[in-house]
Amino acid sequence: MSSTVVLAQLLNGLQYGVLLFLLAAGLTLVFGIMSFVNLAHGSLYMMGAYFAATAFQYTGSFGWAVAAAMGGSLLLGLALEFVAVSRLYRRDHLDHVLATFGLVLFFNELVRIIWGSQPVFLQVPEFLSGAIDIGGFSYPSYRIAIIVVGLAVAVGSWLLINKTKVGMLIRAGAVNPAMVAALGVNIRLLNAMLFAVGAMLAGLAGAMAGPILSVQSGMGESVLITTLVVIVIGGIGSVTGAFYAALIVGIVDTMGRVFLPFMLRQVTERSFADAAGPALASMLVYLLMAVVLAWRPQGLFPANR
């Protein structure tokens, strides 16, 4: 096993990790401030991918595709917040789960009606279709671009949250929403805004993931569940936690899938390793979450309380 394979898989893990972060950033804040469970976040990601694919079909420009994904999911997020979500904040988590589960079913069927049940293809933009040479091995430049965009969003959100007044309110809201509201801040407006920005980032993630995954109905679910794992590991309401946890989950999952079967083969019989390796690899992030929760129920990097 050469070091280039390891490096390539590390980069793949990093790329998956930043995608997860794009989804987790908005979700964890809405979790933290309004303690709202949003299963429909994966649907926003899916809609973003479809918006991007459609815009790309008409304009042929990847820039427009990304813009359409972000704008479309921002508006969709605002609409969702206004129609359903804002009415549910005062309810308990069960109602959140129920309502957003209904929304997931709705959106999955909606894209099946509009775009059909066959996967839609989104091409890698021309200027990113090549590969970049990193220390003797080539790596697709599109995946590098995803990593760069993801890290840029991470830095941007860190600046927003830690260096601006709005960010201060967000942090305060995540720690004690009732107190912030009592101090005269319109916390519901703040949350509506966060919900919409989170939706926009989910749409961005969908557009970025479109060319490397297939754009189809139900694509949001598996990534949503992994995002929930990220948020719980990182500590609910903590964007920094979401960032570290996203990278950990992305890398653990990718590396596990590639190397776990090999490693098992070293220590056990081949037949057993072939059967157990993939099983264990796909369970790895959930095992990680169970271990983290059993050890630190508040997550690894909880918002300071």
Binding site: F106, E109, A290
Partner: protein, 343 residues
């Protein structure tokens, strides 16, 4: 009898049960045997919803991973049958043992958390189960496992839809009876109390988490029995039984029926699967209607069908006019804010 007639919330579900008892006879007589399998599915989902109702309705434990137990029950039959074991008693033992053990371990870990984290961790455990069975290539993996040998309990062989129907019906009646007893038993009182205010129950000297864990284990085991029956009905065990959407459907059934009520799971399953079938008749895109309906149910609140029926109940005696359990959410919210304040 007049007192029963004045309470639609009791006689309507009992009438439904009576009608369900007649389904095999009517279907056999008219030759519409399709309906036996259809109503058997409703009954099996009602059993699974009864199971979830113990954890979710009585205990307030929002488990988003009960498909795990449904799947374990199904695979208890599938795996045993794959290895040539057709004895229903072995299937049942495997099912109860596996579900009990898994519920004990996952419950003990999950109950260390609460709120959102509890929902997420139960979901994660169900996903683990899902991926485990997907990657067991020897046992069909993604494609599932067809079951050649149904469960044989002595002379009773669950290989025909009618026999599964009868068995499921008996289990359902027993489950409902059990749920009714459990609701007012000291055990039920403790977990229902803990749902409203865990600190207060705890302050009364009751080890709350132990009670909740037991409720979770019992809930998982009953759900496993539903899985066992489902596998026999379909003659198939598939990883899709463990999909997260199945857990969501079970929650929807319990809530539609009426959270924490005795007959809620039955009514919920009847309406959920019935509506699904009716909508499927209109359009293949039935979920476009069904999804928003679920959202509306969530927005309207959660007294469910049984809550609706209770509105028509006559209230002859003063003590029967207990205030509607609207204020139990208020109490719970109070408890939550009290708990938050001290954290």
């Amino acid at each position: 009898m007049t007192s029963l007639l004045s309470r639609p919330s009791s006689w309507v579900p009992l009438l439904v049960l009576l009608l369900l008892a007649s389904v095999p006879f009517v279907a056999e007589a008219t030759g519409q045997t399709f309906y036996i399998a259809f109503f058997a599915r409703i009954i099996i989902y009602a059993i699974a919803a009864c199971a979830l109702n113990i954890a979710l309705g009585y205990g307030g434990l929002v488990s988003f991973g009960h498909s795990l137990f449904l799947g374990l029950g199904a695979y208890a039959v599938g795996l045993a049958s794959f290895h040539g074991v057709g004895s229903g008693w072995v299937h049942l033992l495997l099912c109860l043992g596996a579900c009990g053990l898994v519920a004990l371990v996952t419950g003990a870990i999950s109950l260390r958390t609460s709120g959102i984290a509890f929902i997420m961790i139960t979901l994660a455990f169900a996903q683990m189960g899902y991926f485990l069975f997907v990657s067991l290539k020897n046992y069909g993996g993604d494609d599932g496992l067809s079951i050649a040998l149904g469960s044989r309990f002595g002379p009773v062989d669950l290989s025909s839809a009618t026999s599964v129907y009868v068995a499921a019906f008996v289990v359902l009646v027993l489950s409902i009876w059990w749920l009714a007893r459990l609701r007012v038993a000291p055990f039920g009182m403790v977990i229902r109390g803990a749902k409203q205010n865990a600190r207060r129950v705890s302050a009364a000297g009751i080890p709350v988490v132990r009670y909740q864990l037991l409720a979770y284990v019992m809930s998982g085991m009953l759900c496993g029995v539903a899985g066992l029956l489902l596998a026999n009905l379909n003659a198939f065990a598939s990883p899709s039984t463990l999909a997260w959407s199945v857990s969501g459907e079970l929650i929807v059934i319990v809530v539609i029926g009426g959270l924490g009520s005795v007959f809620g799971p039955l009514m919920g399953a009847l309406v959920f699967l019935g509506l699904e079938e009716v909508l499927k008749g209109f359009t293949e895109h039935w979920m476009i209607i069904f999804g928003p309906l679920i959202v509306i149910v969530a927005l309207l609140g959660k007294r469910g069908i049984v809550g609706l029926l209770e509105r028509f109940d006559a209230r002859p005696t003063p003590e029967a006019t207990t205030p509607a359990p609207v204020d139990d959410t208020a109490t719970a919210r109070h408890a939550i804010s009290a708990a938050k304040g001290s954290a």
